[in-house]
């Protein structure tokens, strides 16, 4: 085999803006042999940066491979690190001007307004890939442990892959019709497997989570024959817990104020343990104690302190119940 690894960054979608400029969206393609094609998508939301860093780390790893063992890329890798280009450049979660959540615009259509056109273009580019990983970074309010979220409609095919992604949690959720307009749902229901990764927090990067995911992605690529069997990879050491709607407990704020966590994210907590308090900047009183309802794992923890009555502060996965 004499596959030659080549790398190029190219524009895959372009559209005219009202005054002079064009909006170009770029991807980087690493081409090797005739083996399977895989893709990583990030930055659908302009305030989620973890996936951008993952793409950088993957590109750095592939650059090194190009220098040392160019024959080991048996397939091809496409990185789409910054789909919501304008949102990322202007710190806007949605698509600027259109005030649209790009991940509610799929499968899109090629003749319509920008959000639909972009969605359709992305579907065209990604369809037929052996695996797409769509990386999200929660939002600016909540911090999440590295996890895969899987719609139960597709769990038979996706769970075995997700188990090998070196992540800490697989969360199986019910089929919500509103989520039918996501990239992952559109790809999965048209036969292209897509895993949704959620990790970290909006507007920040968590390098250790990113490296953990990079190791998992590379390992799955190797199993799929994108990388040669003899390639040396970073070690994968994480085994996921399995959560579903029966063993995840939500802690919503009883009152408005400032939530100050006392427990650490991604730790075991006991039933009744104090996870944090809600306080007021106007007085010295504690307005509300926030306690764990079960023995379990604190896998979601509020990062942004101000809460309204009802705001989510934490999620705990019970150690008992659920699917294993």
């Amino acid at each position: 085999m004499s596959a030659q690894l080549s790398m190029k960054t190219e524009t895959f979608f372009t559209i005219d803006m009202p005054y002079c400029e064009r909006m170009d969206i770029r991807r980087t393609v690493f081409s090797g042999g005739e083996g399977p094609r895989v893709a990583v998508v990030a930055g659908l939301h302009g305030d989620e940066l973890e996936g951008l860093y993952v793409c950088h780390r993957l590109a750095a790893w592939l650059d090194a491979l190009q220098r040392t063992e160019p024959d080991y890329l048996l397939g091809s890798v496409e990185l789409y690190p910054a789909v919501n280009t304008l949102g990322l450049d202007t710190l806007t979660r949605g698509l600027p001007v259109f005030d649209t959540d790009l991940n509610r615009a799929f499968p899109g259509s090629s003749g319509g307004p920008l959000p639909e056109r972009l969605a359709a273009a992305l579907m065209t580019e990604l369809s037929g890939a052996a695996l797409v990983v769509d990386i999200h970074a929660s939002n600016i309010y909540l911090r999440e442990i590295p996890q895969v979220r899987i719609n139960q409609e597709f769990d038979d095919e996706l769970v075995p892959v997700a188990r090998r992604m070196n992540l800490d949690l697989i969360w199986l959720h019910g089929a919500a019709t509103v989520l039918e307009t996501t990239l992952a749902h559109s790809l999965n229901s048209s036969g292209t497997p897509c895993l949704v990764v959620e990790m970290g927090v909006g507007m920040r990067i968590t390098p250790e989570y990113c490296d953990q995911l990079v190791a998992g992605i590379l390992s799955v690529w190797k199993e799929k024959g994108v990388l040669a069997p003899e390639v040396a990879l970073p070690e994968t050491t994480h085994t996921p817990l399995i959560a579903d709607d029966s063993n995840v407990h939500y802690l919503n704020a009883q009152t408005s104020g400032m939530f100050v966590a006392s427990a650490s994210h991604w730790t075991d907590v006991r039933r009744g343990e104090l996870l944090g308090t809600i306080v007021s900047p106007f007085c010295g009183d504690v307005l509300s104690d926030v306690r764990s309802p079960v023995d379990g794992v604190l896998f979601t923890l509020r990062e942004y302190p101000l809460v309204y009555e009802g705001s989510l502060m934490a999620r705990v996965m019970a150690r008992t119940g659920g699917r294993s």
Binding site: I15, D16, M17, P18, Y19, C20, M23, R93, V97, D99, R104, G111, G112, P113, L114, E116, R117, Y141, T177, V178, E180, T181, Y250, N252, T255, S256, G257, M258, S280, P281, F282, L306, V307, Y308, E309, G310, S311, L312
Partner: protein, 314 residues
């Protein structure tokens, strides 16, 4: 009578309320529920319903001796109270869309609690009406929107006397809207789409105000209404009747045409200029003969933006 649908706390300011009007004879549930301002920038609806509350309160106070409110009417001029004050479409704190939070819940996110309170107050009404506008970029002719309607809703939609009734299927994307949650309850549900966001369009508002008064008269909730017969016919349009024009080129779009007018196929309706060079790069023409039912109002166009919609008469 004014009452608070919901009172909630806020992180640092004092609590906030969502007030509503309840007007007319007491009953276990209102006969008619009128809702607007789920989106904080859709001011036409807020204005129409606050004016409606003033009018019905005047009826109750005897200012119009020939009129009598026979049944109770609930009016929520604005659900997204803070959004109206801050001029934002979405819920200002977490930027979520209140009209994607239904049926809501008493223990979930703030917006879900608001949605729950709105649904509880309105779901048992015989007639439920949610007033919206298009975005701030687009203007819609005042119209009744039906989503997967029953025959009864189709028949009732004519009673508003608005120039257009637009029928759409209830897409799964709309599962979490107020309209979808209403539909699981007995009774009839309507969306009115009126003009564009971010402004009060007096002519549209007056027209819809009259439409609501006629409607209340025709369903027997407001007795003594003299129904003026509009000289314009009411057109019912299904999805197939809609012809949309999208921008082939980006630029600056200018048009002085008014929505609701009838246009000929090929009639010039506006121009796209090169925003830098200033030359006309595209003439925008009507794709078919019909009613100009919606029109772009924000001048700056991305390639692919919706410019206008013409509905062909069935």
């Amino acid at each position: 009578m004014m009452r608070n649908l919901l009172c909630m706390t806020a992180p640092v300011r004092e609590g906030f309320d969502i007030p509503c009007h309840e007007i007319g004879p007491k009953s276990s549930h209102p006969a008619v529920a009128l809702v607007a301002g789920l989106h904080g920038d859709e001011i036409n609806g807020v204005f129409i319903l606050s004016r409606m509350a003033d009018f019905l309160n005047s009826v109750e106070n005897g200012k119009y001796p020939e009129l009598r409110l026979a049944r109770r009417v609930l009016i929520i001029p604005a659900v997204n109270v803070l959004g109206v004050n801050l001029r934002t479409r979405s819920w200002p704190f977490d930027k979520t869309d209140l009209n994607r939070m239904f049926p809501g819940s008493t223990i979930g996110e703030t917006t879900q609690r608001i949605a729950y309170a709105v649904l509880e107050a309105t779901k048992r009404s015989d007639y439920r009406i949610d007033i919206h506008t298009a975005s701030a970029d687009f203007e819609e002719v005042p119209q009744v929107r039906l989503y997967g309607p029953s025959d009864a809703e189709r028949a009732t939609s004519i009673l508003f006397g608005l120039p257009a009734v637009m029928e759409r299927s209830l897409s799964p994307v709309f599962t979490t809207t107020l309209m979808s949650s209403w539909k699981v309850w007995p009774g009839q549900s309507f969306v009115l789409r009126v003009g564009q966001a971010g402004t009060v369009q007096l002519e549209h508002c007056q027209r819809v105000f009259r439409a609501l008064v006629s409607f209340l008269g025709r369903i027997g909730v407001l007795e003594g209404v003299q129904i003026a017969v509009e000289d314009e016919e009411i057109c019912c349009f299904d999805k197939k009747s809609a012809f949309r024009v999208f921008a082939e080129k980006a630029g600056t779009f200018v048009s002085d045409r008014q929505v609701g007018r009838w246009v000929r196929a090929g009639q010039e309706l506006g121009y796209i200029y090169d925003s830098f060079g200033g030359n006309v790069i595209e003439k925008v023409v009507a794709p078919v003969a019909g009613m100009l039912s919606g029109m772009r109002r924000h001048p700056l166009l991305f390639e692919g933006d919706l410019i206008l919609r013409v509905n062909r008469k069935g």
